[in-house]
Assembly symmetry: C2
Homo-oligomer: 139 residues x 2
């Protein structure tokens, strides 16, 4: 089991929007991509997924861009992971008939532990930590 770069990008993009919140001016793709060092062409697709899951909202045209659709406190890392990869920890093998039930139970325990940990971190906390290290944001 490996964490994908995409999931990381998604969390960092949401963090950027959360740090900008509740400023009314939306952040453009290019701004987010630059701040978080994410390839803009890839970020586009990630933002679309986050939007379709109701985590962020967008506006087009001049003065367009992205903003959170909820408060940072209402968005967890688990929400972001589910938005971009379907589930915090995907286990297709839970559907396989040949996997014995007791092994499936062990897999489920791991899955639930990861899910709980992911749902336990919201972006208000993440922003608070980020702001306690302001030096990062002058580079």
């Amino acid at each position: 089991m490996k964490a994908s770069v995409k999931s990381d990008y998604a969390c960092r993009a949401v963090e950027a929007l959360a740090l900008h919140h509740p400023n009314t001016r939306p952040l453009r793709i290019e701004e987010i991509a630059h701040r978080e060092a994410i390839p803009a062409n890839y970020l586009v697709q990630i933002l679309i997924e986050l939007k379709s899951k109701g985590l962020i909202q967008s506006r087009r045209g001049k003065a367009g861009g992205y903003a959170l659709a909820k408060t940072p406190r209402e968005i967890t890392v688990g929400d972001v992971l589910r938005a971009v990869q379907g589930d915090v920890l995907e286990m297709p093998l839970l559907l396989e008939a040949r996997c014995p039930e007791e092994i499936k139970r062990a897999w489920r325990r791991i899955k639930q532990a990861a899910e709980q940990a992911a749902d336990d971190v919201n972006f208000e906390e993440i922003c608070a930590e980020a702001k306690s290290r302001p030096e990062m944001y002058y580079i």
Copy 2:
């Protein structure tokens, strides 16, 4: 993050060996492959990795095969996952300089939760569950 078929095969192979324990006759690859419905040619490679990590042992030649190198209680799901995939939850992005520290912290929390859950299940428990459902082993 997705659980691989390989990890599942590894757990099922160790379960088969644990259920056979402490019988002195080793289990042949073909036996394990048949019992757990795992492609034999693939299982070979998995068993080699489990052996190199000291979880199982082997004997060659006639009357050869595999057996556990420890008691089922001494082997956890976490041990098996680390043996076949390096870590319970791999997070190469923890090494990336562009990922802010507060996001890394969130990733670490998820990683540790999964690790703890995996280390919390040993194969004695798994065997006990399996034996409480004996119907599976007559098919």
